[in-house]
Symmetry: C2
Subunit: 405 residues, 2 copies
Amino acid sequence: MKVAVMGYGTVGSGVVEVIESHEKVIKKRTDGVALEVKRILDLREFPDDPHASLFTKDFNEILNDGEIEVVAETMGGVNPAYEFTKKLLEAGKSVVSSNKELVAQKGLELLETAKAHGVNYLFEASVGGGIPIIRPMDQCLAANNIEGIAGILNGTTNFILTKMIEDGMTFEDALKLAQDNGYAEKDPTADIEGFDACRKVCILASLAFGKHVYPNQVECEGITKITLEDVAYISSAKGVIKLLGQIKYIDENSIAAFVSPAVVFNGSQLASVNGVFNAILVRGDAVGDVCFYGPGAGKLPTASAVVADMVDAAKHTQRRKIFGWGEGSEDYVIDHKEKITMPFYVRAKAKQSEIQRIFSEVKFLTRYGQPSDEVAFITDEMTENKLRQKLDAINTINIIKVTNY
Amino acid sequence: MKVAVMGYGTVGSGVVEVIESHEKVIKKRTDGVALEVKRILDLREFPDDPHASLFTKDFNEILNDGEIEVVAETMGGVNPAYEFTKKLLEAGKSVVSSNKELVAQKGLELLETAKAHGVNYLFEASVGGGIPIIRPMDQCLAANNIEGIAGILNGTTNFILTKMIEDGMTFEDALKLAQDNGYAEKDPTADIEGFDACRKVCILASLAFGKHVYPNQVECEGITKITLEDVAYISSAKGVIKLLGQIKYIDENSIAAFVSPAVVFNGSQLASVNGVFNAILVRGDAVGDVCFYGPGAGKLPTASAVVADMVDAAKHTQRRKIFGWGEGSEDYVIDHKEKITMPFYVRAKAKQSEIQRIFSEVKFLTRYGQPSDEVAFITDEMTENKLRQKLDAINTINIIKVTNY
């Protein structure tokens, strides 16, 4: 079967590599159908690449090629990936994607376009890189009502937090190291502010509960305010700080979804996920907690997930997979600060006696070198708005959610 | 769609419960097709059960019912589950199963029968209970050459080992507690000798490498020889003992596959899997390590995996899933003791100087209360046969494999 790849960056070049190096195992999974890359779309020049003859700068050479049945979109960004994908689906070609930004923004529309034209739009690689998660959630957990999802969805921030927790590096030094290692971009905003994790939360939430969630519906808090002092206090409570994307089912017409640092206690499967690895914990009403762990990014891991989708599309040329979701609504994602209760970690310039007057019960934490005018504690469960109201007169330094995953 | 359930034990009654309680989410996944239990096969009487009218003791009432398209086999054991399954597949009905013993013994034949009759034989629940593993391996990792698999595949033994490690209970006390909690049978042989894990290793190996592996090809060592002394030594090396099923790819015509206690160092995703939970780590050449964690047994978790397979079968009535494997050979599973090198943990009645004379380099371990005539150490990598040859003149108490997962 002839296929094409759009975008010859890290993932796209990995896709071509995996297709070529894994011909044998791919044919085993397709009952004998090999994938053959016929065209690669990229505006850049790759004169020394062994695939030089396959390159084109003209999208129409892929769109109008009747032989090409499946296209991998590894360009990233919404434009022009959106227009290209839409036209390909309309032309009866299946598209597989690693582009989380596009799926989070336009997934619903593209899934509907695919359905209308009897082809598939698949994007296993858009969440968790090489970790199988989209398909297991859609198929293996089909007999569960999903109650919640919590994921370490961004390897860069998990690397930074791991360095802070395990090696006592400051946030700034850990970020610098992540950049030196190629884990973080020069402009790390999308990672450290949680925007990348946010897109993955949108895709997971849409899939789990059947209604599209858009990035602007999901509140994001990044990790830039986390300090070694917070790490030390939380370590004394046998916990770690992770950047989590969390989704909670409320009822048929509402969910909560947010990205923020969160305290995870040791013993949780999420607590031992270190470095650039990702993990996604899904809580189903029948199965309980299941957790998927693996490399959340990287050339070959992500490429292997894209190629697995191409294999699936190749197996389903005669028949569409039943897979997709519908339109949500503006108030579908509720205000979690007003509605969701949980414990919180608080660090403040205050005396223990002041805190004790405000809260009926808290657990005070200690750290080496703790100043006499600083307190840190974990509260009972309450809403975030209630907490902030209680802390109104207190000089708060940091507040971090405590998760029950 | 009309379905039937054969075997109304823990899992089978769970299947009926999940189908009824999850009608809405099931219809979402099948594009509107509801599952309706028309018949339940069991030789026992359930006069007070709300489904009393559905029971039959006559298998032919299911076999000859043209309305029934999908059957869940949750009987366990090879006979009569094997004959029943075979006849149902031949009659053009899809069968889904939680029966690891049957799949490990007869999976190849039943998959071929299903293929010949254009129906599906699915068994997600046979490995890892509610943990999605069969489908992710078959589909999401389709573009990987799998290099190895290591799994905590039996919850009973993992519960016993966790109690020994965390609470200092003896093996006997921990087994008793497992029996009191209903995690272990009165006759716990299949669990503690590794036979249950062995069946799951067979299924995973068959799926990963495309050739059927039979239980008698997989050497099993149980956990009955593990003592608190071993636990203490290995803890001092920052490790834990787990009962692992391990599979290693050698070449197209051979693999290694064995079940045994193994030292897992902290930091491994397998080290933090405690209690009755299971986890399966898959190492692919493109993706690296991915790990699947969750409840490996239990009524509703296992039932939810069976029902997910029923949903999948219901979605694929017009078309078979490409899924299966071929015949292996007698020498397909190699003698790992002769061919596979790894480090080993050894405990012996001996002096350090004796050990040092035999091994060029070992890492000695210590424990509180260590007798002066006892040593424990971790060796370099070597084959097990080579190790035993070296230890020929030593009074060895225990030898445990050290894993690199």
